[in-house]
C-alpha cells in the first residue's frame, strides 16, 4: 500500500492532507491520488468489519476523505474516473436519523459509486424523482432506524413499484433493527448490517 492509502488507513488526518497537497503541487495525476485515497478507505472499511476500528473511526475516515476530496476536486476538471455505478440513498419518511445514512454515503462514495443523496425524512416521491432524474441509477438504498417506520419502507418500495421503476432498480435497506424479516416485509432485495456491508451488498446487487 502506498503512503497516502496507508496514512488514511491509519487515520493520520494531518499527514494525509499535507501529503495530498504536496503531491498535487508536484503535478502527480489527481486521479491517481484519488484512487490512493479510495484504497485507504477500503482498508478502513476492512478494519471496521474485523472489529479493529469503531464507529468513531469511520466518522473520522469520512471526514478525512471529504477533506482530501475537496482538495483534489478542483484539479480533476472533468477527468473523472469510471464510476462503479449510480446509487440513490435516503432515510425514509417519518425517520430523521442521518448519521448511518451519511456513513453509507461516505463509504459508497469512497468505493467510487456516484451517490444521489435525497436526505432524511424523505417522502416516496423524493426517491422516485431522484430515480427518474437519474435513469442510470441501478440501486436504491433506504435507511430506517425506527421499528415504527417499517411501513414507510414498505410504502416507499410500493410507490417505486407503482411508478414502474421496480424492475430497473435493486433495493437495499439498512439501519439498526433492520433484518431479513424486514426485507421480506417491505419487499426489498437485501439488507446491510453497517456502512461497510452496504458497499458489499451494493456491489453484489449491481453484479447480479
Amino acid at each position: 500500500m502506498s503512503s497516502i492509502a496507508q496514512m488514511i488507513s491509519n487515520l493520520e488526518d494531518e499527514n494525509v492532507v499535507a501529503e495530498v497537497q504536496k503531491q498535487l503541487d508536484s503535478g502527480v495525476n489527481p486521479l491517481d491520488i484519488f484512487k490512493e485515497c479510495q484504497a485507504g478507505m477500503v482498508e478502513v472499511g476492512n478494519k471496521f468489519s474485523c472489529g479493529e476500528y469503531f464507529v468513531s473511526d469511520l466518522m473520522m475516515a469520512g471526514a478525512i476523505f471529504k477533506e482530501v476530496g475537496d482538495l483534489i476536486t478542483p484539479y480533476l476538471k472533468g477527468q473523472g474516473g469510471a464510476s462503479a455505478g449510480k446509487v440513490v440513498v435516503g432515510t425514509v419518511f417519518g425517520d430523521i436519523h442521518d448519521i448511518g445514512k451519511d456513513l453509507v454515503v461516505a463509504m459508497l462514495s469512497a468505493a467510487n459509486f456516484e451517490v444521489i443523496d435525497v436526505g432524511v425524512d424523505a417522502k416516496p416521491e423524493a426517491f422516485i424523482n431522484a430515480l427518474k432524474e437519474n435513469p442510470d441509477a441501478t440501486v436504491l438504498g433506504l435507511s430506517c432506524l425506527l421499528t415504527t417506520c417499517y411501513d414507510s419502507l414498505k410504502e416507499t418500495i410500493d410507490a417505486v413499484t407503482e411508478a414502474g421503476l421496480r424492475e430497473k432498480v435493486k433495493i437495499m435497506i439498512g439501519g439498526g433493527p433492520v433484518d431479513q424479516g424486514v426485507v421480506e416485509y417491505s419487499g426489498a432485495d437485501r439488507f446491510g448490517r453497517d456502512a461497510q456491508d452496504a458497499v458489499t451488498v451494493c456491489k453484489e446487487l449491481m453484479g447480479s
Binding site: S56, V120, D121, P177
Partner: protein, 267 residues
C-alpha cells in the same frame, strides 16, 4: 435514583422470540432479575406488529406481574394498546412515552391523568422533521409539553423528561450537550424527573459499560435522577453508589457501605 429496567423489549431479538413462542420462563427470569437488582419500574415493549401488539403487551404484563410487584412502564406508541394494558396493570404504571406532538398529547394525556400515571416525555416533536439539534430546540418542545400536562392537571413530578442522549462516536459533543441540557432542564422544571437511555452515548464504541456508567456519574452531577438501564449491571450500581456518596447524598456513607457488603448486587 429511579431505575427503569430496559430488558423486556421486543425490539431485542431474543425477547421478540420469547414473545412469539410464549416463552414464559425467559420473560419471567428477566422480570425477576431486574426486580431483584432494584429496578423501580420494568419497561415492557411488545415490539410486535400492530395487529398483535395489544395481545402481546397484555400477555407480557400478566406474566411479569405473576412474579413481581415492581410497577410496569408500558412502552408503546399505540393509544388503544396502552388503554387495554392499563386495565390489567395492578400497580399504577408509567407510560413510555409522550413528546411535543399535539396529536399524541391529546390522545395520551386523558388516560395518564385519569390513572395518575407517571410519563416519560421525549424532548422531540414527532410531527416535525428533524431531531432537535440544540438545547433551545429541546427546551422549546418541553414548553409545549408542560403547557399541555399542566392544563390536563398532571403534576410536574409525574413527568420524566428524556433529553435525548446522542452517540459520542458520531458527535464528540454529545456528552457535553447532554449535561448542559440536563442542567438547563433541572433549573426550569425543578419538580420534574430527568431520565433517558444510557446506551446511546456509547453506541459504536468498545467497552460500552465503562462509558455508560461514567456518563451516569456526570449526568447525576448535572441533575439527572432516573435512567433507563440494565439494572443487573453491578458495575453500574457500583458507580451509582459512589457517585451519590461523593455528591453528599449518602448520610454517613451508609448506603454505600451496606451496598458494598452486598457486592453491589442491588441498587
Amino acid at each position: 435514583m429511579i431505575f427503569i429496567g430496559e430488558k423486556i423489549n421486543g425490539t431485542r431479538s431474543k425477547v421478540k422470540e420469547a414473545v412469539i413462542n410464549r416463552n414464559i420462563d425467559y420473560i419471567q427470569s428477566l422480570a425477576i432479575s431486574q426486580s431483584e437488582a432494584g429496578a423501580d419500574f420494568l419497561d415492557i415493549n411488545a415490539g410486535t406488529d400492530p395487529d398483535r401488539e395489544t395481545e402481546d403487551l397484555i400477555w407480557l404484563i400478566e406474566k411479569v406481574q405473576a412474579v413481581t410487584d415492581t410497577p410496569i412502564c408500558i412502552d408503546s406508541s399505540t393509544p388503544s394498546a396502552i388503554k387495554e394494558a392499563l386495565k390489567v396493570t395492578r400497580v399504577t404504571p408509567m407510560i413510555n412515552s409522550i413528546n411535543g406532538d399535539q396529536k399524541r398529547l391529546e390522545e395520551f394525556l386523558p388516560f395518564i391523568k385519569e390513572r395518575n400515571c407517571s410519563v416519560i416525555a421525549l424532548c422531540l416533536d414527532e410531527s416535525m422533521s428533524g431531531m432537535p439539534k440544540s438545547i433551545d430546540d429541546r427546551m422549546h418542545v418541553l414548553e409545549n409539553i408542560f403547557l399541555a400536562t399542566r392544563a390536563a392537571g398532571i403534576e410536574d413530578s409525574k413527568v420524566y423528561i428524556d433529553p435525548l442522549i446522542m452517540s459520542a462516536a458520531t458527535d464528540q459533543k454529545a456528552g457535553i450537550i447532554a449535561f448542559d441540557c440536563i442542567r438547563t432542564i433541572r433549573g426550569k422544571y425543578p419538580q420534574a424527573h430527568i431520565t433517558g437511555g444510557l446506551s446511546n452515548i456509547s453506541y459504536g464504541l468498545p467497552d460500552r459499560s465503562l462509558i455508560n456508567r461514567t456518563f451516569l456519574t456526570l449526568a447525576i452531577a448535572a441533575g439527572m435522577d432516573s435512567a433507563v438501564v440494565n439494572p443487573t449491571d453491578t458495575d453500574l450500581i457500583q458507580s451509582l453508589f459512589a457517585t451519590e456518596l461523593l455528591l453528599g447524598k449518602d448520610k454517613f456513607c451508609r448506603r454505600y457501605t451496606t451496598a458494598s457488603k452486598n457486592a453491589f448486587k442491588k441498587k
